[in-house]
């Protein structure tokens, strides 16, 4: 005990000494959108949200909420309002916003190579306009490949992702091997982490390729559309055994490389819509722990008129909700399986962290999140831009690896204009949308479907689909039941 110094005596100040003065608060920036018949969702620019009744929203704006109401405290905790007691909310919001936008400072992470446009499958929904296995003139040369790798290492990103697209990349394994070996050598030299993925139908998987994947830490991603009949219908090959080949490939990778080394995605066709549970069951049967449900993209063969690919966004959302319900049901029974797009959206809704997914960025992810090198050296700011070029519209081509410099391509008007004109913070409708912090700009899709990089959102299927997804997921989160707990586990 110190000598001569008495403790300061209580009493303590009562609660009233610390209570905010009623009705004296300021609003911080937020947007709101109707969630369902009775509720609204409010979001601030860092992505925190609050779901409430209309009366509370009106009370908030008219400043009639009292400090002792739970809505007041919730809204204060989530930085929707600020009162005389507290000015630090702005700093917290700024920190969250910086955190969310952090991927921008990394610049381009994903680099896609198309080693060949040839493929042995002839999917009617092919978005890449594939060429037959024996066609000539659609393979990447070594000089194109080398320049692509050099281009990739120009990106300042600390983590790079190298992804092989097609065609079927394994049909040109020689150049693929060359690219991987060169990348691994340069990544050691540059001190970069490079994650490598081959997107393949696995038809041509061999022991040699598996050894190669093991030695160079290469992961595989494949397409599995559902049970045999559906898969073979969607993804036919000459022998009508693409399902057997893909499943055999998945099994070999799981056994040889490990269960985490292969992932798969589902492309939804009209035939898929009425069998969500069967598709999910197929993933469980193959022992996969993740799946990615995606709608058909309006490029390549998928855009041909009169194909069986067409269905409405409402129909796809209905399919997605049924599949998700079933996946959650399986999780509650102890099955480990997650839907990756849902997990990605949940991270955007619930965490302060940004995600690098190309389609959901503002400014758009084209070029600054991803870039693609076509077999002929063409450089595109996204896979979709390349698909568009294969259909004859080269508007978004940034140049060619063989003739153009990094600076000229990455600073080209077509890229910079597309980025600056489509930011969701400023474009009509998005600017007022409660889901703006979770969504993103997709200029190439809007250009393809509506002839304009901004697009007219009330008629945009991208907008309709994502509004539907956000509404559904926030609704599930607000249920605060066991399915909410399953979704929370998908955050990490």
């Amino acid at each position: 005990m110190s000598t001569g110094h008495q403790h300061r005596r209580p009493p303590f100040e009562p609660r009233s000494a610390f209570s905010p003065v009623a009705f004296h608060y300021s609003l911080l920036p937020f947007r709101f959108t109707k969630l369902d018949e009775s509720r609204y969702v409010l979001t601030n620019f860092s992505g925190d949200y609050f779901v409430t009744e209309r009366a509370v929203l009106v009370g908030l704006v008219k400043k009639t909420l009292t400090p002792d109401s739970s809505a007041y405290v919730e809204l204060k905790s989530r930085h929707f309002l600020i009162d005389s007691h507290n000015a630090v909310a702005l700093q917290l919001l700024a920190t969250q916003y910086r955190t969310k936008q952090q991927p921008l400072s990394e610049f381009t992470g994903l680099h896609m190579f198309v080693p060949t446009l040839r493929c042995d499958n002839s999917c009617f929904y092919c978005q890449a306009s594939r060429k037959p296995s024996t066609a000539e003139g659609f393979d990447m040369t070594e000089s194109v490949a080398d320049r692509g790798v050099d281009f990739m290492f120009r990106s300042p990103s600390t983590v790079l992702k190298l992804e092989f697209q097609g065609g079927e990349p394994l049909l040109n394994f020689g150049i693929l091997r060359h690219i991987v070996e060169r990348t691994r050598a340069l990544s050691l030299l540059n001190g970069r982490l490079v994650n490598i993925v081959i997107c393949s139908n696995l038809s041509f998987l061999s022991d040699e390729i598996l050894d190669f994947c093991e030695n160079h830490e290469v992961n595989l991603s494949t397409s599995l559309d559902g049970p045999r009949k559906l898969h073979n219908l969607n993804r036919p090959n000459v022998d009508f055994d693409s399902y057997e080949r893909t499943c055999a490939g998945i099994t070999r990778i799981r056994e040889r490389l490990g269960v985490q080394r292969v992932s798969a995605l589902v492309t939804t066709t009209r035939y898929s819509l009425n069998q969500p549970n069967e598709i999910v069951d197929e993933y469980v049967k193959q022992g996969l722990v993740s799946m990615f449900l995606r709608p058909i993209n309006p490029y390549g063969f998928a855009s041909r008129v009169g194909t069986p690919t067409s269905y409405s966004t409402v129909e796809w959302l209905d399919f997605y909700k049924k599949a998700l319900d079933y996946i959650i049901h399986l999780n509650l029974k102890g099955v480990r399986l997650r839907e990756e797009y849902t997990a990605l959206l949940l991270r955007r809704i619930l965490t302060p962290f940004g995600t690098g997914f190309v389609d959901l960025q503002s400014p758009a992810g084209i070029g600054i999140s991803a870039v693609l090198f076509n077999h002929d050296g063409g450089v595109y700011p996204s896979d979709e831009a390349r698909m568009l070029a294969e259909m004859g519209d080269r508007r978004f081509c940034l140049g060619n690896l063989l003739t153009d410099s990094y600076e000229n391509m990455m600073l080209s008007d077509v890229l910079l204009d597309s980025l600056s004109e489509t930011m969701t913070e400023t474009v009509p409708n998005c600017v007022d949308c409660g889901f703006q912090p979770y969504c993103g700009a997709d200029p190439i899709r809007h250009y393809r479907l509506q002839g304009d990089i901004v697009g007219y959102k009330p008629k945009s299927e991208f907008c309709q689909r994502h509004m539907g997804l956000f509404r559904h997921l926030i609704g599930l989160l607000e249920r605060q039941d066991e399915s909410t707990e399953v979704l929370m586990r998908w955050l990490n």
Partner: protein, 382 residues
């Protein structure tokens, strides 16, 4: 177990610290900072020690030494070689400030504080001119293999640069010791001060910062200081920005027990970088004892909210733990978060605990909580 007691010896002199030695043949250069513990096995007051602690009634066999001989109260008879004791000659106060064999060494940096928390277990003094200098002298006396050391208060950061120098001293003399600093973080609202800590480059340092609510008026009421929430939040952000590890500590009382999930959500969005979130049971001493009627809430009455809060943090990959909660007051799902958090010297178990199958994993109770504890305390059968 008592850490302080009085001795009958009195003389004129300033307070000082000594390391306890049981070796009468101690190398002479070390003796000036040590007190020789006289016992039935060591009755020779060999010369040169700063003081002699006499745990026996025996008369000394040797001639009376020049340094003071201090009768050691039996309550402190547990002292062993390597422990550190503070002696106040004017009043006869003895205070054990470091025990070599303990894993819970907590030292007071200052007793002054800029908060005045309703549940403070260590009520502050208006002024404290000596804690820091005694700590300054103690650090070099501590065992170099000490696994962990807690800097506590009061509010350590009130010492300003002196506080930074104490951290540097801990790093210099105790390079392998994890340093845990309990600070309300308010003064780290000055970025340069946060930078000063980072610039020490202590290899293993965590600042444990109490945050009692996610909204300013609730936190400010609990710490009885307007503006404290804003200061603390700025401090947390500044420390994180400088790369200093931050732990958040929330003491659960009736004033915040209903909003634990809301608190966790706030932490996940605003402080995802924190290295631990500790949910702490009340220690009913000091002001907590004064205010116990308005603060007390039985853990079983907030168990559901606590569960939601921990699950939420776990989903966000933020480490979290529960301190000072007996396992029988927690659902089994939560046991993995529970830590044996109560310092050994004030840790007790009740009669019901003795046959309990999980006693060895349980934190037990604060000795001060023997009377004031959850109604759920019971024996868990094997």
């Amino acid at each position: 177990m008592l850490l302080t007691d009085k001795t009958s010896a009195r003389w004129d002199g300033n307070p000082f610290v000594v390391r306890v030695s049981t070796d009468p043949d101690r190398p002479e250069p070390l003796r000036a900072k040590e007190a020789l513990l006289l016992s039935p096995t060591c009755q020779t007051a060999s010369p040169g020690f700063r003081a002699y602690l006499n745990s026996t009634d025996l008369r000394l066999q040797s001639s009376k030494p020049e340094a003071p001989v201090i009768p050691l109260p039996s309550s402190l008879s547990y002292l062993v070689d390597g422990d550190i004791v503070q002696i106040r000659p004017l009043t006869g106060d003895l205070r054990v400030i470091y025990r070599k064999g303990s894993r819970h060494n907590s030292v007071i940096v200052t007793r002054e504080c800029n908060n005045y928390c309703l549940m403070c277990s260590q009520p502050p003094n208006e002024t404290d001119t000596e804690s820091a200098s005694l700590l300054w002298d103690s650090i070099p006396l501590m065992d170099i293999d000490t696994p962990g050391l807690i800097f506590s208060g009061g509010e350590p950061s009130l010492l300003g640069q002196r506080f930074i120098e104490l951290i540097r001293r801990a790093k210099s003399f105790l390079p392998h010791t994890a340093l845990h600093i309990l600070s309300n973080g308010r003064l780290f609202k000055y970025l340069n001060f946060a930078k000063d800590i980072a610039d020490v480059h202590h290899p293993d340092i965590v600042i444990g910062i109490p945050l009692y609510s996610d909204v300013s008026h609730e936190h400010d009421e609990i710490v009885q200081a307007e503006g404290a929430f804003d200061d603390t939040v700025r401090g947390i952000l500044n420390l994180a920005r400088c790369g200093v590890a931050v732990e958040l500590r929330i003491v659960i009382t009736s004033m915040n027990s209903a909003s634990l999930k809301r608190f966790a959500r706030f932490v996940a969005r605003n402080f995802p970088f924190c290295c631990n979130v500790a949910f702490m049971g009340l220690e009913p001493v000091g002001f907590a004892k004064t205010n116990i009627k308005s603060l007390w809430v039985d853990p079983v009455d907030y168990e559901s909210g606590l569960n939601s809060a921990l699950c939420l943090l776990e989903a966000h990959n933020i480490p979290a733990s529960i301190y000072n909660h007996q396992l029988c007051t927690l659902r089994r799902d939560l046991w993995r978060f529970a830590r044996q958090s109560i310092s050994d010297w004030k840790n007790v178990f009740l009669d019901a605990c003795q046959p309990c199958a999980v006693k060895h994993e349980c934190c037990g109770l604060f000795s001060s909580a023997a009377e004031m504890h959850s109604r759920a305390i019971k024996t868990i059968p094997a």
